[in-house]
Symmetry: C2
Subunit: 204 residues, 2 copies
């Protein structure tokens, strides 16, 4: 029987690398620290992944492949705009509570290395706005929702959902909340945010 990911060395390395890279970033991460966390010799990292860069890319692609399907849900699903917003908001916030470092990690590293995203864009499954655009334009011209471009609406949805996690320390300081009450604020947002968006675009 094939060993499960967390008993074989390669998987242990990836898990440790995830944890270190996602909290410290490419530049802040140390190969020795990853090896220590995985409980193995540093040479093993190079045996399985050749270099820090390649290990990092493995972690990054893995992280991105978790995020992309969440976004495709809102872009390519067949439900109504209103349902999409409701579902996405609720699902997405649950998702991030499970992977708190993920959006920050992706954003930080994409800012550091602009070329990186070009590689990702070629992948099938990379989020594409076309269908969503058509849907938004349709609903606007039918008069179901107020005029708004699909791009701006999409940016707003992402912003309202992702930002509070990315800027957590900053927002916690401003709102004077501790970890526990911040978590509650985020729970509240599962419905708060979708209401906020829908209020804004629906006609009265």
């Amino acid at each position: 029987m094939k060993k499960t990911k967390d008993e074989n060395t390669e998987g242990q390395i990836l898990d440790a690398a995830k944890s270190i890279f996602q909290t410290k970033g490419m530049d802040g991460a140390r190969m020795q620290e990853i090896a220590d966390k995985a409980g193995i010799n540093k040479a093993m990292l190079h045996y399985y992944y050749r270099s820090k860069q390649l290990l990092f890319e493995a972690v990054f692609k893995n992280a991105f492949s978790l995020l992309a399907p969440q976004l495709n849900a809102i872009l390519n699903d067949d439900s109504s705009i209103e349902d999409k917003i409701k579902n996405f908001t609720s699902n997405y916030i649950s998702f991030i509570i499970k992977h708190p470092y993920l959006p920050n990690f992706i954003i930080q590293e994409l800012n550091r290395n602009q070329d990186f995203i070009l590689k990702l864009k070629d992948n099938k499954g990379f989020p594409n706005l076309e269908k969503f655009k058509k849907q938004v334009n349709d609903e606007v011209s039918k008069g179901h929702i107020k005029p708004i471009s699909a791009e701006q609406l999409f940016i707003n949805i992402l912003a309202l959902n992702i930002f509070p996690f990315v800027a957590k320390p900053l927002v916690m300081a401003f709102t004077n909340t501790d970890d526990k009450s911040y978590k509650q604020l985020m729970e509240d947002r599962k419905t708060e945010v979708s209401n906020f968006i829908i209020n804004s675009i629906k006609k009265h």
Copy 2:
């Protein structure tokens, strides 16, 4: 006559350090690169700022002291909620277009070093939500706007304004825009975002 900031060495160092730290972060920045950018010997960095950590802190505090007044504008001004949102959105986006790396830098470094914000919180002039809370609660109970907590409204305002700059490479990839059309998208948001927020909270 005292030399202006950009002719004296100390100021040149700070300028160079700003540019390097804000694009590469604490971990990615190299003292030699800062010295080269400032056009001086590396030993000068230590002569004026003692250590990388202290030089970094000088840059960080400087950056934060630019951001804080922008936020206080929305929190402590005497205008109506609607005016605040309009002005803040328009001003803030202009502000960031002038300092594109600033919000990302602050968020990234605060995530890296959680203790850091505690030092800032003690400073007078650190954004405080109390007055804004009172105003929002007032307008809600008077029935001028729909029920919403001041914290959630504040988070939403920050999110809609800051996020598109922080996550620029990601959003550019999703929306398939180049630098020029992204800049246009951001210009449009100066009014787009405030309409979006006001639509959402106003009563009909």
